[in-house]
Symmetry: C2
Subunit: 409 residues, 2 copies
C-alpha cells in the first residue's frame, strides 16, 4: 500500500511530466512505429497501416473523407526510412523508403490506439453503446419514459430516447397527440421510416377475416416481428390511439438478450444449438384481399451473434416458424429440447403492462420479444394502434450525429 | 454392368410397383415415425416435429398459416401411440398418447423429407437459386440481356431477369425510355424501392464540390455500395440516361463470390483472415450542403458467409474503409497481406463494358464489385445515370411468387 503523501507526490510528479515530458518516435522490427513518452505513454502502429492512412492531399481526399491511394494493391512494400516526432506541432512525421512523407497529428493517432482498452472504448462510445440486459425483476429500474413533445422538440431528449432504445432496448413516450401520423413523425424525427410489404405505417386493429394473426383479438404469443426477413425491422414504434376497455390488450415483453445470456451461462449445450441450428422463418400470403402476393423466407438460428460475438438478433415467432425444418434429422429432437428451455425462460422473464391512449411504446425488435393478451372490442371501444419501423443503421447514425455533431475524422 | 434388357425389366418392374406398392407406417425408438413403401421409398420423421406441425384446425390456423399450439413450451412429451397409413386418402394418421389425432398428407410429408437430397433441393428450388460463379473469361457466357419493355409487361421475363440477378449476379436491360422514372418503375415492378440517407432514386452525375467520390469525374475503384450499412442495398439499378462521349465512363465489374471462392481454394490462410477479421466501414458527412448529417459505421469482414456456409456478402470500398481499424495489433500486417491478394484477384478478374443510353445495368450489390473509368463531361455532353436500390428480401419474395403462384403450404 502506498501512503497518501506518496500518492499525491506521484500525481504531482506525473502532472509535471505531462508538460515537460517529450515524445520519442522509433521504428521497430522494420514493421512498427512506436511513440514513447517519458511519463509512460506508449503508442505502437503498424507501418503498413500508417502508409495506408497517410492524410496528405495526394493520398487522402479531405472533402469526401476518401482514401485515394493504393486502390489496386495494398501498401505491402511500405517501409519507414526515418521517423520523427515534432514536439511543437504535436505530429509524427514519417519519411518512407519511396521518399513520400506522411504527417500524423498525435490526437489522431491516440484516437486510433490499437490497445485493447482504447479499442473497446471506441466500440462502446462511438460504434454502439453496450446493452444493459435485464430480468423481469429489474423492469422498473430499466424503464425510461420521455414526453413525446420533448422528443420532437429537443435534440438532447431525442438522443436520450435513442440511447435508451440502444441500451435498455425499449422506452415509453407519453402524451402523444390523437393523430395517426405520430408513428410516422417519430420515424422521420430519427431519419426515415422502413418500408415493408405492408407499406410504411401499419394499423393494428381487429379485422374480420384477418390474414395476419396480429389482427385478431386472440392473444399474441411472445415473438419478434419479421424473423422471415434478412433485413428485419430494427425498432417497432407502436402508438396507442385507442386502448381496449376490456381487461385484455396488455403488452408483454421479454429481454431476449437476457434470456440468451442466461441460456449461455446455465445451459451451454442448449445455447450452442439455438445459436447454430438454422430455423426456416416464413410468411406467405397476400397483403389484403386484392393485395400483392408475398413469399418471404429466411433461414437463421433463434440466437444470432455479430462479428464481435455480441448478441445481434433474436428470431422467434411460433406462428412464422415454418413446418419445413431444413436440418439433419438427428438435430431435430435436440433442437426442440433447447427451444423448450428458451421458451420457458422467455415466459418466466416476461413483464406485462398496458399502454394508455397517447402512449408510444418503442422497442428494439432485434432484441425484445413482445406479445399481447387477448381482448374484446365493443361497438364503442375498438382497440387501435398505429405502428412504424425504423432500421438500426439509421438510428445509430442519428445517435452518433447527436453525440458527435462535428466529427473531425 | 447390367444388360440393357435387364435394365428395362427393372424399370418396368419399378413402374408397376409404383402403382401396386403399399406404404406401411411404424414407430421407431419411440421417437420417429417411418413410412416405408415396397418400392424402396422411405421417409422418417421425428415424432416431436410431427406433433409440433399438426395441421388440424385446433393446432393450426389455416387462414393465416399460423401454428396455434405449443406457444409456451415445445411438445417435448409428445409420443405417438399408434400410427397408420391410409392408402385411400394417401395420409398418415397418428394417434398421440394424450389422445389427440393428427393427419398428414403424403405429399405434404414428401415435401418435408429430411434426407440430404430433399433438403438441398428445397434450398435450391425454393429458398435461393444457387449462384453461378464466373471468371473474367466467362463474362460473355453469363451475360443475360432483356428488353426493358418485356420486363415491365411480361411476368415470365420479369422472373427470368430476377433469376439472372440471383444466379449470374447481374443483367442488362435494353431499350429503356428516356425517363428519369425508369429505375423507380423497375424497383416498383419488383416490389418497392429501398430508402436510404440519399432518399429513394439517386442521380449519378458530376457535381462541383461533390461530397461523394462517385459524383466526381475521377475513376471509381472497384467497390460495393454501402459496406457501412448492416442493411446494405441488395441490388443496384443503374439507368443510363446520358452516356459520356469521352473515351471513359465505362463500367467495370468483378464477381466477388468467384474471387472469394478462388481465394478459399488457392490461399486458405488469406481466406480465413478476410472472412474473419472485421473491418470498420464508414460514411460520415452531410447529404448536400444543407442536408442532414449522417454518421454511418458497420464492422464486418470483407467476405461474409451465411448460416449454410454460402457466400452472403462482399464488403469492399477503399474509400469507405475507416482509418480506425479496431483489431489486435498483430492481426494488422497479416490482414493487409491477405487484402493485397484479394485486390489483385479483383482487378485480374474485372470485366469492362460501356453502357449506352437506354441501358439499365443491374447487379447484386452483395456480390459484385463495380467501378467506373474516368471520363470528361463537356457542355453538350454530361454523363447522367439514375439509380435505385432494392433489397433481396423483396426480390426473392417476388421471384418465389412468380415461380410458385399458388403455394398450398
Amino acid at each position: 500500500m502506498l501512503s497518501c503523501r506518496h500518492m499525491i507526490g506521484q500525481l504531482l510528479n506525473r502532472q509535471y511530466q505531462r508538460h515537460a515530458s517529450s515524445i520519442t518516435a522509433k521504428i521497430l522490427e522494420h514493421r512498427y512505429v512506436e511513440l514513447t513518452q517519458t511519463d509512460g505513454l506508449q503508442l505502437k502502429y503498424p507501418s503498413i497501416w500508417l502508409r495506408d492512412n497517410c492524410q496528405c492531399p495526394e493520398c487522402f481526399h479531405g472533402a469526401t473523407r476518401a482514401r485515394q491511394s493504393y486502390w489496386e494493391r495494398s501498401p505491402l512494400d511500405a517501409e519507414a526510412n526515418r521517423v520523427n516526432y515534432d514536439e511543437k506541432r504535436q505530429q509524427l512525421v514519417v519519411n518512407w523508403q519511396d521518399d513520400h512523407n506522411s504527417v500524423y497529428d498525435l490526437e489522431w493517432l491516440k484516437q486510433r490506439d490499437f490497445s485493447v482498452e482504447a479499442r473497446q472504448r471506441y466500440l462502446d462510445e462511438v460504434y454502439k453503446p453496450p446493452a444493459q440486459l435485464w430480468s423481469k425483476s429489474q423492469f422498473g429500474d430499466v424503464t425510461r419514459e420521455f414526453a413525446y413533445k420533448d422528443v420532437i422538440e429537443k435534440d438532447a431528449v431525442l438522443g436520450a430516447w435513442l440511447e435508451a432504445l440502444a441500451v435498455q432496448g425499449f422506452a415509453l413516450l407519453r402524451g402523444a397527440p390523437d393523430d395517426v401520423q405520430v408513428a410516422r413523425h417519430l420515424a422521420e424525427r430519427i431519419g426515415y421510416i422502413k418500408l415493408t410489404t405492408y407499406g410504411d405505417v401499419f394499423e393494428v386493429k381487429s379485422k374480420p377475416n384477418a390474414g395476419n394473426y396480429a389482427y385478431l383479438m386472440k392473444p399474441l404469443p411472445m415473438h419478434t416481428d419479421m424473423p422471415y426477413y434478412e433485413y428485419k425491422a430494427g425498432i417497432n414504434i407502436l402508438h396507442t390511439l385507442v386502448q381496449s376497455d376490456s381487461p385484455g390488450g396488455a403488452n408483454t415483453m421479454t429481454d431476449g438478450f437476457f434470456v440468451a445470456d442466461k441460456l449461455r451461462r446455465e445451459h451451454p449445450e442448449y445455447y450452442e444449438l439455438l445459436s447454430s441450428v438454422p430455423v426456416n422463418w416464413f410468411d406467405i400470403g397476400h397483403d389484403g384481399d386484392a393485395g400483392k402476393p408475398f413469399h418471404n423466407l429466411w433461414r437463421a438460428p433463434v440466437i444470432c451473434l455479430d462479428v464481435d460475438g455480441q448478441f445481434a438478433r433474436i428470431n422467434h415467432n411460433t406462428m412464422k416458424r415454418d413446418s419445413r425444418f431444413t436440418v439433419p434429422l438427428d438435430k431435430v429432437g435436440a433442437w426442440y429440447e433447447a427451444y423448450d428451455k428458451f421458451l420457458q425462460l422467455v415466459y418466466d422473464e416476461a413483464v406485462q403492462f398496458k399502454t394508455r391512449q397517447g402512449d408510444v411504446f418503442v422497442f428494439n425488435n432485434l432484441r425484445m420479444l413482445h406479445g399481447r393478451t387477448a381482448y374484446e372490442d365493443s361497438p364503442k371501444n375498438q382497440r387501435h394502434l398505429v405502428g412504424a419501423y425504423v432500421d438500426w443503421d439509421i438510428i445509430y447514425s442519428k445517435l452518433r450525429t447527436l453525440k458527435f455533431p462535428n466529427p473531425k475524422d
